[in-house]
């Protein structure tokens, strides 16, 4: 029996795997990340795999954690990033060395696509000419009035600003900006210098010049699929088939088609495959925005509804359980308040090691945010009950539960409903950030739009999210009229 079980188990696994291997493809949240991950997804679909896309994950560590947790099976990473940001190495090892370090964590790099998309510094060409600037050293020594603003990730990474500042002797610390907005800011003249990726399609488009890395600080960033080692060889082979086939110039052109050609990244991905003699039937550029809008709204509502329901249940029950103890209720409200002060994107990040990515951590985060207003309002309402009313309720012979059910809770209802209303509106707003950890919702088009520099996409998320918040406000007015006992509002104003 003891020997039979593992055998049975591996048999079941094998059968399951061959029947229909489902592969989850993730992507980082910038244009090339979307495009290359879509290429990988289409390659897998063409090879007959069932593919689920979780694109626009917010940052390297979120992607990597998701991969090691098995929430995704593959995404496209860069060799330099693996060395510096993930493995925290100072040297630039070979791919074999990288894979030796990655193996214990159950992931591996496949062969790279061929091009090097390294960090580079860019500025407007006319400005560079006027100032006589052509290398990074030039702006490090002098030109102190140049406004250098870099992407948030670049600011933090050891192979980003901290290392660069050491290598070139920059004295000042620059501001941070979302990568997708940086080009527009350059173009508008809001900033003068920013970090870019050398394959970005914007360089020619915006009349930029790339400053020479004269001290050879930036390491190689070869784009390569990072996969879970446990993935079947057949899947790995399918993904590997594009290795070494894309040059930096070609990649710039593909990126530009997405960013400026008004072509969807799905369409460009199948063009990229077609250029390499691979036919893909997934060039879906759906004309209508309604199906995705409907889907995103439904996901958004599901996230917030589940989180809010949980918060109502826990918040009210907890409030009822602790309100008699001033110390306990004070502590509870304080802890809930503390949770509220954690920036939402940080909270989402903190939850990944515990809950992975996707729906569960998103709901958990929204739940934690919704808890405070509900708990606080419940406790406050219960503890600030009119003392005469509460004394009478006790003195005429009501049990604790009867007091709670027939007096305390009905009288607290306006405050509790107001707390729920606040929590609901917070949830709907915060849920847009859930897209960063692959939970979908109306944040999805916003994140994608930011990455692809596509205002239309951003609006497709932002407008319905705002409408949803307004609609929630309105429907809660109706709910308050229904749930709150008649005449209660006016009675509480009357006093005496």
């Amino acid at each position: 029996m003891m020997r039979l079980l593992p055998m049975l188990f591996s048999l079941v696994c094998a059968v399951h795997a061959t029947a229909s291997e489902r592969i989850v493809v993730g992507s980082k949240s910038f244009n090339e990340g979307y495009l290359l991950s879509e290429v990988v997804a289409q390659l897998l679909e063409r090879a007959g795999f069932d593919v689920e896309r979780r694109f626009g994950l917010g940052g390297t560590l979120i992607c990597f954690d998701a991969l090691t947790h098995g929430d995704i099976d593959v995404y496209v990473e860069y060799t330099g990033t693996v060395a510096q940001a993930i493995l925290k190495l100072d040297t630039t090892p070979t791919v074999d060395e990288l894979n030796a370090s990655l193996a214990p964590r159950g992931v591996q790099l496949l062969r790279n696509f061929g091009f090097d998309n390294t960090y580079a510094f860019a500025m407007k060409e006319y400005l560079a000419r006027r100032l006589g600037v052509s290398t990074i050293s030039d702006i490090a020594n002098g030109h102190g009035d140049l406004r250098i603003v870099v992407s948030h990730e670049f600011l933090q990474r050891s192979d980003g600003w901290p290392g660069l500042a050491r290598a070139y002797g920059f004295a000042r610390t620059p501001g941070g900006i979302e990568h997708g907005l940086a080009y527009r800011a350059l173009d508008d003249g809001a900033i003068d210098v920013t970090d870019i990726y050398s394959t970005d399609g914007e360089v020619a488009r915006y009349g930029l010049v790339v400053l020479t890395d004269d001290r050879r600080f930036f390491p190689e960033y070869r784009a390569a699929p990072l996969v879970r080692s446990a993935l079947s060889q057949r899947a790995k082979d399918a993904i590997d088939s594009l290795a070494g086939t894309i040059t930096a110039g070609q990649m710039q052109a593909y990126n530009a088609r997405v960013t400026f050609g008004g072509v969807s990244y799905q369409q460009v991905a199948s063009e990229l495959l077609a250029d390499r003699g691979i036919r893909s039937d997934r060039g879906r550029t759906s004309g209508s925005i309604w199906p995705s809008l409907r889907h995103n709204t439904a996901v958004h509502l599901r996230l917030t509804t589940i989180a809010l329901s949980g918060a109502i249940l826990v918040g009210v029950l907890l409030g009822v359980a602790v309100y008699r103890s001033r110390w306990l209720s004070g502590t509870m409200v304080y802890v809930a308040g503390l949770l509220q002060t954690i920036p939402s994107i940080a909270l989402l990040g903190l939850l990944i090691p515990l809950l992975g990515i996707g729906t569960v951590p998103a709901i958990a985060a929204l739940f934690l945010y919704s808890l405070l207003p509900i708990l606080r309002n419940t406790v406050t309402a219960l503890t600030t009950m009119d003392p005469v009313v509460s004394r009478v309720a006790l003195a005429i012979g009501m049990s604790r539960s009867e007091q709670l059910r027939y007096v305390y809770l009905p009288l607290s209802m306006p405050a509790i409903v107001a707390g729920i209303r606040t929590a609901a509106v917070i949830s709907i707003g915060t849920a847009t950030l859930a897209a960063f950890i692959g939970a979908g919702g109306l944040g999805d088009p916003i994140v994608t739009g930011l990455a692809l520099n596509d205002p239309r996409l951003i609006l497709q998320g932002a407008v319905p999210a705002a409408l949803l918040a307004v609609l929630t406000e309105i429907s809660f007015e109706g709910i308050e009229r229904l749930v709150v006992p008649r005449h209660l509002a006016s009675a509480t104003h009357e006093g005496g």
Binding site: D386, V388, V389, R391, V392, A393, L394, A395, I396, G397, M398, S399, R400, E402, Y406, V407, P410, L411, P485, R486, H487, L488, S490, A491, T492, E494, G496
Partner: protein
């Protein structure tokens, strides 16, 4: 010694380190109205709440209707004691009918009983049927207090505790309520302990009086006896000056 509705033997109550009631010995006769008279801070309201065990005594023994206060199911026991308070303390989210009948329904009384008892009491207290479905905030002060008395008497208590029930009312309304209270007393046989800061109210409504000052009983007995032979200058001054 039979017929004590409430009996306190050497009862003391303190809040923190301060004794608000010290060594109270008291006997409230059954079937009559006893007024506990004192200025604010005298401990009279605390005394009342020792009787229905909202507070528990830190010293001494309290016996109600011949029995010690039970240790379990206190809320069921409290239902045998009526309670009304200054300002009535009506539940603002319930209408007049629900305020009066809520506890009877919680106690599982027959709907017929509830209906009939509600009818009897509201008629006795001169509350028109048009008030039944009104909420407390639209009632006058006097109406609220009458509803409060109906609620206190709903479960036919043997003992009625009144905490300054007529204090917040203007004189004319108060005089009417005194009349209604007389009518009630004629119909319902219930021992009553009434706390008041107004010696004239005690004279008007009670047959027995307990004078309380600084947490101590100054004198107790029938109104006649206390008027005739005040135990000290303070008690004497009550009937001549009243309280400021």
């Amino acid at each position: 010694m039979n017929g004590a509705a409430v009996e306190l033997v050497d009862v003391g109550k303190r809040f923190g380190a301060r004794w608000v009631l010290e060594s109270i010995d008291l006997r409230v006769p059954e079937g009559e109205t006893t007024a506990v008279v004192g200025e604010s801070g005298s401990g009279k309201s605390t005394l009342l709440q020792l009787i229905n065990a909202v507070y528990s005594a830190d010293r001494g023994a309290v016996r109600v209707l011949g029995e010690p206060i039970p240790t379990i199911d206190l809320h069921l026991w409290r239902r045998s004691i009526g309670y009304a308070i200054q300002g009535a303390g009506l539940f603002p989210h319930l209408d007049v009918r629900d305020n009066v009948t809520l506890l009877a329904r919680l106690a599982g009384r027959e709907p017929d009983f509830v209906e009939q008892r509600f009818r009897t009491l509201t008629e006795l207290m001169g509350l028109g049927r048009d008030l039944e479905r009104r909420f407390p905030h639209v009632l006058s002060g006097g109406e609220r207090q009458r509803v409060g008395l109906c609620r206190a008497l709903m479960l036919q208590p043997k003992l009625l505790l009144l905490d300054e029930p007529f204090s917040a009312l203007d004189p004319i309304v108060r005089r009417d309520l005194y009349g209604l209270f007389d009518r009630l007393r004629a119909r319902e046989s219930v021992s009553t302990v009434m706390v008041t800061h107004d010696p004239r109210e005690a004279l008007r409504l009670a047959r027995h009086v307990v004078v309380l000052r600084g947490g101590r009983v100054q004198q107790s007995g029938s109104i006649d006896a206390v008027l005739r032979e005040p135990a000290n200058e303070y008690v004497r001054s009550l009937w001549s000056d009243g309280f400021a």
